[in-house]
């Protein structure tokens, strides 16, 4: 039984589309580039202006005595159940300072044996019934997550296995040694990947020593992690006090509650309070970083800065701003760098926000000899959002795009649940998603320009390039002093 609410997707307000658009030339005229650079609009295609009404399903929720917050979204279309258990406090954000990455190792090692099942039994049991039970913790997040995916028939057995993994991990020494061997190989492999190298350097540049800077554990941490450290981390951090259990699928709320209480009722509340999450230290002035990857035939480029907290009242405005600059193929970056110039396969921007201040970044991979031009174009596109009012048509299109796209998520109950989990984690108002369309449609250009000035400050944009220093090192110097790193992450030239 779903609690349903009617929500009007205002996307298709009779707004636009009545007036055919003036044709925009592909070549930018001297002076300001047109907002739809790279696109020719003929305006002949029929677009519906009908208002689409949809119902947004809402999960049923309950608080269990040990602190677990239960959320259930029933969906009986397919005989499957998806469960997510988020354990706040068990993510890499809470790693001990001397062992950054241990949360991730703990989560992975929970899969390697319990007091009654060895690693082989854990694997065989779930894979034979085609269920997936896994634990993971990102190095920069507050939470670890245990996920269960199974056909409805096998849910009880899958849940039983999941509870054992969560509550009774054994952390066998022998498996830890093997895990370390695999991790070392995995890390070596990652260092050949230019996107990884760019992400790693960028995270370090924008976050400094803040946990947000962690992308992968270092070899040194892998070497120093002991069984005792894992046992201690698990004991201290895997507590139900602020856990969320979210189920989506072919199960009723009552049934779900009964099963969760039976399996996790005995998981004792620890009564600990988590230390407040801290923002990273403010970002310094713009700088250029080059990761020298000899033999690269492209430059992997990231331009970005610290931006905004997920809980900020400006979040929707900055999201919209991001979408104008580089959200998908209709973003200015894609239209400029790919459709107009043909320099790249893709160019996008991305906003990631957490309880602590997150980042905004633009990224692309271009051929080496246009590295300078690409940096300039990205900086120009950011500058334009500060200097110029977004044209009416483009602004409206972007808002409609965001709101109407929301309808597509209705096809995926897991995506809807994802939204409600976000609301829960960040304490957003109960009607946050019901009001999402009208909130977005109400944003004005007068809010976007100041947001660009405030959050994408010109003097704070950091530039990270991964490529062959012999080919692009000189080009980058035109933007300022360049710090050069090798692919191991060690500094070669610079301060």
């Amino acid at each position: 039984m779903l609690t349903r609410r009617t929500l009007t997707i205002v996307a298709m307000l009779a707004l636009l589309c009545a007036a055919p658009l003036a044709q925009v030339a592909t070549q930018s005229a001297a002076g300001q580039a047109p907002s739809t650079k790279g696109v020719v609009v003929k305006g002949n295609a029929p677009v519906s202006s009908e208002t689409l009404k949809v119902k947004l399903p809402r999960p049923q929720e309950a608080d269990l005595p040990n602190g677990i917050h239960l959320m259930v979204l029933e969906d009986h279309r397919l005989p499957q159940i998806n469960m997510q258990l988020q354990i706040r406090g068990a993510g890499g954000y809470y790693d001990p300072a001397d062992l950054p990455g241990v949360a991730g190792v703990t989560a992975s090692m929970m899969m390697e044996g319990t007091t009654t099942r060895n690693t082989r039994q854990i694997a065989q049991e779930q894979e034979t019934m085609a269920s997936t039970v896994s634990v993971g913790a990102s190095l920069s997040s507050e939470s670890a997550a245990l996920t269960v995916f199974s056909l409805a028939d096998n849910f009880d057995k899958s849940l039983d296995l999941a509870a054992d993994i969560l509550l009774n991990p054994a952390f066998p020494e022998e498996e830890l040694a093997r895990y370390k061997t695999r991790q070392r190989a995995g890390l070596a492999q990652l260092r050949s990947n230019p996107s990884f190298l760019a992400q790693e350097r960028f995270a370090r540049v924008v976050y400094g020593d803040h946990p947000g800077s962690r992308v992968m554990p270092s070899l040194d941490v892998i070497d120093r992690t002991t069984r005792e450290a894992l046992v201690a981390f698990h004991k201290a951090h895997y507590v139900p006090d602020q856990a969320i259990v979210a189920l989506v699928g072919d199960i009723s709320f009552a049934e779900a509650r009964k099963k969760i209480e039976a399996k996790f009722g005995g998981w004792k509340k620890a009564g600990v309070t988590l230390p407040a999450v801290q923002d990273p230290p403010p970002i310094g002035p713009s700088k250029i970083y080059l990761v020298d990857r000899p033999n690269s035939v492209q430059t992997s480029l990231i331009v970005g800065t610290q931006a905004i907290n997920r809980t900020s009242p400006d979040y929707d405005v900055v999201s919209l701003l991001n979408s104008i600059i580089g959200g998908g193929p209709t973003g200015r970056l894609f239209l400029n760098l790919r459709e107009d110039k043909g320099w790249t396969y893709g160019a996008y921007s991305n906003l990631s926000a957490a309880r602590y201040r997150g980042v905004w970044m633009a990224s692309t991979e271009i051929r080496g000899d246009v590295t300078e031009g690409a940096v300039r174009e990205i900086l120009n596109e950011v500058d334009r959002t500060r200097a110029e009012r977004i044209p009416d048509k483009e602004f409206l299109d972007k808002k409609r795009s965001l709101v109407a796209n929301f309808a597509l998520s209705l096809e995926s109950p897991a995506a809807i649940m994802g939204n409600y989990i976000t609301s829960r984690i960040y304490n957003l108002p109960a009607d946050y998603w019901d009001k999402y369309p009208e909130r977005v449609m109400a944003i004005t250009q007068d809010q976007v320009q100041p947001a660009a000035k405030k959050y994408l400050e010109a003097g704070r944009l950091q530039i990270v390039a991964v490529g062959d220093a012999k080919k692009i090192g000189e080009l980058l110097k035109k933007f300022g002093t360049v710090e050069v790193y090798d692919t191991e992450g060690k500094i070669k030239i610079g301060s």
Partner: protein, 459 residues
Amino acid sequence: MKRPLIRGALWVACIAALVLGATLGAATPPKVQFTDTRLKNGLRAIISEDHTAPVFSIAITYNVGSRNERQGRTGFAHLFEHMMFKGSENVGSGEHFLLIYNNGGDMNGSTSKDRTNYFERLPANQLDLVLFLESDRMRALDINKTNLDNQIGTVSEERKQGVDNQAYGKTMEAIDELAYKNFAYRHSVIGSLDDLRAATVEDVAQFFKTYYAPNNAVLAIVGDVKTADCLARVRKYFESIPQQPAPPDVDMNEPAQTGERRQTIDDPLARLARIDIVYHIPQSLTPDADALSVLSTVLSSGRSSRFYENVVRQKQLSSNVGAGAGESRGPGLFRVAALVNPGKSVADLEKAIYEEIERVKTGPIESWEIDKARNTAQRNFITSLGSSLNRAVMLSQLAVFYNDPGLLNTRWQRLSAITAADVQRVARQYLTPENRTVVITNPKPAAPTTPADHEKGGR
């Protein structure tokens, strides 16, 4: 490719609303209902109602892939996919994706050796929009030099991003070039940059006329539509597009391999050595290909698999050993790929992989391993039904490949019939030394001066 049809021709099948699983028991996967209609110009239109959400998906699969390319024009099918977004008679360059995204949808296209497809997902009220866009480009694509040059630039960066600038990028091309003798599957989908640069507007126009004809395509619409109304609209937009002569058949014959082929590649971008081994196998949807699919589950699916347990966990020779065969309309390949752990030898890893293969041939296969393959197939099928886009893509693709979109509902069950003896039989028959091609990729320390030896025919 002879495929048993479930029942004869099915140009007009039932009209039934699709209610996924509402009345079915948990263990029974729901059945996707659809109608299947051939328009006067040969375009096949499949429609499947699903009113779960105010959303629909559309997919058009064109019966053309890189296998249809000729020597000197590799990468053409894929380059063409890019041109399909550069405008048509009534749609400006880039306007297609602008309209789809601005109206809340998403879209893409993809090219494989066997087919090219285009797909969109939109709120339910934008059916006319997407039918207009898709029919306009099927009818009258705007092919000009500016767009072509622009997209050759884009594709050449796509090639670098996916192949030339990635560790092991060259390996994937080398192994197919060594394993296949027949040109159709021998060359990569993305093709060579030299060939792309040689493409002319006339080439593109001819390619369009031959392969982008309505009679060479299947359209599928899945979601919040009314079948009769939807079909009427499809007719309105598409039925007047002229039919073309059928494209030439592709010779897919691959001579039997009679001895191991082997090559070693130095890769300056790689950090770890890697082994790739491929074996020739029959096309998909044959009993042997089904048994080989179960074999790939036994060998490499998950941490309970034999490769993981013995080669990765016990012997610690690799961090990951993968195996399996993708969908293939023509002669396929069973692929095994593994990275060598730091400090371990390529030879030891290769030997360990062969030992596991031999153990399948001679030793027992346990019943849980067979259950695992069957249950995995069922789960993957059920999960795939959650997305209307996936259903649309599969319905149109199965119609193009096997003339049978109904395989969407039945295909997964084929694996239920596979026994341990079948798995052993196909392992013995196909996973033999004389039928294999091996490529070893060694990391090469970056030489101080290597003049653009990476770019094929660098300018």
